[in-house]
């Protein structure tokens, strides 16, 4: 199959490029990529745009197959992909378009003490956080659940964690879906998935997942930052992880189930990983109810980790230290949403895979306190650079269904990163910049080196420039805690 080149791209404006529908006969809609000229070389190097064209062939897709500026090659969908399928028009749901790490996402907390006040405790705090939050491959959590208790987590997500004494009820207000997405059916999550997840609640996992203590370095919009509780010099804690083995197995199970039904629906797919089902069909409804249950597990997971983080702050800094939840977003999820498309309000099944919801002001899904400014959008960067807090915009709702990027986006394979960068050297470099590192694997550290990622500042500039979301604050790492 031909690979997309620069000549196949039509420039719409400074930040938007289009691959027209005529590029391939099976495309149902054009594909649009948010990027700027200087990013094109990197983006066309792998097969991510070909994967985006594949997404444009899926039944029921509306307007465009979108890619955010952190786009990179995945499996099936590209990472950074957004696609809305009209439910009433045979629109499909594709588990591969949501990903194996169902509801991988980001939670941001802000401390009631600033960098200057907390700096003397930082090294001790980093060590305490490393011990408080299990990370790395195969490390189980501190909370072992029976299958009955696990079903409650799958049904009620973060709300159940509050019921059993973790966190505060206010936390739920500042989570996408209030940390408890309706429609879960724990019975549709397999025994295998439950066994993989039973001892993993409250664990980070490995790969690009991390826990970071950060400092608010720059504020771009005082009023919005104030609404989010962010001030210059404030200390924040960012948690990036998902649904662990429970989500991975749930996606695996339903890819398999839907594959069995594929002949009956007669779809001709350019990549089997795009396996999908009409959203209204029973197999699709079963997958959706299981996906919601796995999403609830992920919200409970980040909620429990936040609880351990608060405990570590109490232990090291004292009882006066408190962390308030700014927001918790998902960047691998399928949602039923209503969007204005060609003058009509249409219900869609929205796929965001490596993309973050970025709803604008005055949307019912946005917390009351943020109604006038829009939903916080959390963009984790790399451990040596920066992360961002953005806010959703009204125009973003029309441009790309209220969606934004989800991170910096990889540009170098993990294999190449490991061969290019020595973890021990990187650790020293980070520490020479005042960043405390707690990671027991040099190889794991090297794989996630800043050089392996696109420039997060450029990615966020495109999101801001294209009007998808507004820049509110830039956060820089103070302490990085991650699994190997």
């Amino acid at each position: 199959m031909a690979k997309i080149t620069r000549d196949d791209l039509i420039k719409i404006d400074e930040y938007t490029y289009e691959i027209p529908k005529k590029y391939r006969s099976d495309m149902l809609v054009p594909a649009r990529v948010f990027m700027k000229e200087s990013m094109i070389e990197d983006i066309i190097e792998d097969r991510s745009l070909d994967q985006l064209v594949n997404v444009a062939t899926l039944p029921g897709i509306q307007k465009y197959a979108f890619a955010m500026p952190d786009i990179h090659q995945g499996y099936g969908f590209p990472i950074g992909g957004v696609a809305a399928m009209a439910i009433e028009h045979g629109g499909v749901i594709s588990p591969g378009g949501i990903g194996y790490d169902i509801n991988c996402g980001v939670r941001l907390l802000v401390a009631n003490m600033n960098h200057e006040q907390l700096q003397p405790y930082m090294a001790t705090l980093a060590t305490a956080l490393f011990h408080a939050v299990p990370s790395g491959v195969g490390r189980g959590g501190k909370l072992k659940l029976t299958l009955g208790e696990l079903d409650k987590v799958l049904g009620d997500g973060a709300k159940h964690m509050i019921d059993i004494g973790y966190g505060t009820p206010q936390d739920l207000e500042f989570c996408e879906e209030h940390g408890t997405m309706a429609g879960a059916d724990p019975d549709l999550v397999s025994e295998h998935a439950k066994k993989r997840g039973a001892d993993q609640l409250g664990t980070l996992g490995s790969g690009n997942h991390f826990l970071e203590v950060q400092k608010v370095e720059e504020i771009y919009d005082e009023k919005t930052a104030q609404a989010f509780g962010l001030t210059q010099g404030a200390i924040t804690v960012m948690i990036h992880c998902g649904s662990r083995g429970l989500g991975h197995q749930t996606c695996t199970d339903y890819v398999r189930t839907l594959m069995d039904y594929l002949p009956q629906w007669g779809y001709v797919l350019p990549d089997r990983e795009l396996v999908c089902a009409p959203f209204t069909s029973k197999p699709a409804q079963d997958y959706f109810a299981a996906m919601i249950a796995a999403s609830n597990f992920a919200w409970a997971n980040r909620h429990l980790i936040a609880h351990w983080v608060r405990e570590a702050f109490h232990e090291v800094v004292g009882k006066d230290a408190w962390l308030s939840l700014v927001y918790d977003v998902s960047h691998n999820i399928g949602k039923k949403e209503r969007h204005m498309i060609d003058g009509k309000m249409i219900e869609v099944i929205m796929h965001r895979k490596g993309a973050t919801r970025a709803f604008g002001p005055h949307t019912p899904q946005t917390p009351l306190r943020y109604q006038s400014v829009g939903q916080p959008v959390l963009i984790p960067g790399t451990m040596g650079t920066a992360s961002y807090v953005l806010a959703g915009t009204a125009e973003g709702m029309d441009i790309a269904f209220g969606s934004s990027c989800h991170g910096a986006g990889r540009r170098m394979s993990r294999m190449k990163a490991k061969h290019t960068i020595r973890g021990s050297q990187l650790r020293k470099e980070l520490e020479s910049h005042g960043i405390i590192v707690r990671c027991d694997s040099d190889a794991g550290l090297a794989e996630e080196a800043p050089i392996a990622y696109k420039d997060v500042d450029s990615v966020v500039d495109v999101v801001h420039g294209a009007g998808l979301a507004r820049k509110i604050a830039r956060l820089v790492p103070v302490a990085v805690i991650k699994g190997g």
């Binding site: 499996y75 195969g138 398999r256 594959m259 394979s413």
Partner: protein, 145 residues
């Protein structure tokens, strides 16, 4: 002949697996899946980027079905991944006992581990095409990590 090799992929883990027969391809896929994520196990040694153990004391019988060889391979490896995850084990060999295009029964043998360098979340269908080239069976496999 190589049993498998790593292939570059921006975000995930991709391996190319070879076999003189389909059965050998399936066996080498198991070896490739585990050796490419650097298992760590006390009492074993690392030689040429591979874990070498004098004994493989743990074993499990694995059965999988699938409508075609590609689906069969994904289902087979997914089943092994699940067993590995819940038991904290890595499998460095597989003996295929029964094999058709739609069914495989095998015994995987391995060791208890302290962890891997990389966590495989799932086995994907992306770029998975089992084909014979110059008399050798081969396929790429992309793992979500």
């Amino acid at each position: 002949m190589k049993d498998f090799e790593l292939v570059s992929h921006t975000a995930d883990l991709k391996i190319r697996v070879y076999g003189q027969t389909l059965e050998a391809l399936f066996r080498n896929a198991v070896i490739g899946m585990f050796q490419s994520i650097s298992p760590k196990s006390e009492g074993c040694q690392v030689k040429d980027d591979r874990l070498v153990c004098s004994q493989l004391p743990v074993q499990h019988e694995i059965k999988a079905t699938g409508p075609d060889p590609e689906a069969l391979l994904v289902n087979f490896l997914s089943q092994i991944l699940y067993v590995s995850d819940v038991n904290n084990e890595a499998y460095l060999d597989a003996m295929i006992a029964e094999f058709t295009d739609r069914f495989v029964k095998a015994t995987v043998r391995g060791v208890k581990i302290n962890g891997f360098d990389v966590e495989i979340k799932a086995v994907t269908y992306h770029d998975l095409h089992i084909e014979q080239k110059n008399g050798v069976w081969q396929t790429d496999i992309v793992f979500d990590i």
